[in-house]
Symmetry: C2
Subunit: 312 residues, 2 copies
């Protein structure tokens, strides 16, 4: 255990369900996420402060404190905490908000208490928090938020997955139309069975996406960023999906798809690509539909959750 | 067109349906395949000689001549050929025998006639022959036989696929129990639909297999060489499948699965691994079942079909 009393960490937002990686592939974003400060307190109680978003302050209902409890139970730590969660993006936007909070909380506690868990070992505790928000134990937001970069998930408890190398010249544009999609609705719309040929095509696209990322083959990334399982159903829940995809394609995007369960969408581009004209077109389109729209343009975050500072 | 009258090529045998790559991933073998000699003849007739296997000699019913016809029609060549197919493995064993013949024939003709097609462009014509044998246009034998190494197939007409890098230290053991499985039976046993979770797991294993191959991660290759779609059904058609898998695992195999639609099975090993004890165990097991069994131990063939010699 360190002698420090407080730690501040940054846990990035993330894109899950990356094309053929429905439920199993995600990547972390630069410049968007949770800044979490964890401070030891007398007693055994957890208290929550939220900045920038309206989050539950009941420790039983906040993903960060549920994850924190799971971790502290595992290491046998009974002490209290104040946790301050500063969010610079909107929960429910399909960018792994709950994963950021859960990952940030357990990573901060592990560092502050000197518990010595690896990031991989912390994933299962972050998932205990994530479960609360999504009802599902999928690690394709939690794992990239924790580890950074692109992470493929083979199984969750214990975590079995791996980072996938990607082109340094890759950046992403997140497009966030201001509509609400509940994760439960996005789940409910999916079929329980798929055709054999769809399952085969999904695996083929996954092969192409992994190979394309690892060999810096932008054409292959673009061609492979297809989802047979969820996107055909979920895109109907996102106003303007087809129009925005078309605008991105016309701007030479390196693939386009839904981020998480939406409503955010993401497109890849080469880093040098100026996206201002595209953003203007998409803004104008959404304005014509009476929908507000925001953007986030960033590189891939290759580091994952990280310590910002310790304090006495 | 060359002035030469005759060409001899070697078209390797291949393993398709590589774990999660059902219908879409195959690799080529060293030391096993078709040696095909194509000789120009007066007139327009194709004649067939077969050595080492009992092949159809009607040009309408032989995959090599059907593929050859498809290619010659495409380039507008009306001349006759004698084609001699020397096979050092058994058709119907699940090692891409028909693909070897079809690939060898079109590759030989392209070289002999100086048509200048790329190997990728030839694939669609080889598939016209392969169709005759399998009833399906899957390129996961044809493509690795043509190109060499591991090849993933995204679509067939025109061919869209790519070679996947693999560890130089990888070798394979083919285990061929002397029983007959008809491709049509192996197809008929498969369901038309699969569960969402199986489709997702297949894609996750594909991500792991591609990443494992490209990063020389033998543990990841082994863990990912699973098939959700065909192997659970088809292994029932192969006597001793579970026992042979277990023997291979006990010998530190780097994954095990069905080759093609069987009855051959393949296991990966590190190159330095002495497999003589394993072969003896498997032989003894099959002997106890009254089944003959053969082996082929080889590296991965990274070159694909190649010219052996030209003759006047």
């Amino acid at each position: 255990m360190t002698s420090k009393n407080s730690i501040t960490v940054f846990a990035p937002a993330s894109v899950s369900n990356v094309g053929p990686g429905f439920d199993i592939l995600g990547f972390a974003l630069e410049g968007m996420g949770d800044t979490i400060t964890l401070t030891k307190k007398e007693g055994t109680v957890y208290t929550i402060k939220a900045i920038g978003a309206d989050l539950p302050t009941d420790p039983e209902k906040n993903v960060a404190t549920v994850a924190l409890r799971s971790f502290c139970d595992a290491i046998g730590y009974k002490g209290g905490f104040e946790i301050c969660i500063e969010k610079n993006f909107t929960p429910g936007s399909g960018l792994g908000s709950s994963a950021s909070s859960a990952v940030g909380a357990v990573f901060a506690a592990n560092q502050l208490l000197g518990a010595g868990y690896t990031k991989e070992e912390l994933i299962t505790h972050a998932l205990d928090g994530e479960m609360l928000a999504s009802g599902n134990r999928h690690a394709d937001n939690v794992a990239p938020c924790m580890l950074g970069g692109f992470v493929a998930v083979k199984s969750c408890d214990p975590f079995n997955g791996f980072q996938v190398a990607y082109p340094e010249a890759l950046k992403t544009l997140i497009i966030f139309p201001d509509v609400i999609i509940k994760t439960a609705d996005a789940r409910g719309i999916l079929p329980r069975e798929v055709s054999m040929s769809q399952a085969i095509q999904q695996a083929a696209n996954m092969a192409g996406l992994i190979n394309g990322l690892m060999t810096n083959n932008f054409q292959m990334i673009r061609d492979s960023l297809q989802d047979q399982l969820a996107q055909p159903f979920r895109k109907k829940l996102i106003p303007g999906y087809d129009e925005v995809e078309k605008l991105c394609q016309q701007s030479d995007s390196v693939g386009f798809n839904i981020s998480g369960s939406g409503p955010s969408m993401f497109a890849f581009f080469k880093k040098e690509h100026d996206l201002s004209a595209l953003k203007q077109s998409v803004s104008e389109f959404y304005k014509s539909q009476g929908i507000k729209c925001r953007f986030h343009e960033s590189g891939i975050n290759g580091r994952g959750v990280e310590v910002l500072l310790f304090k006495d």
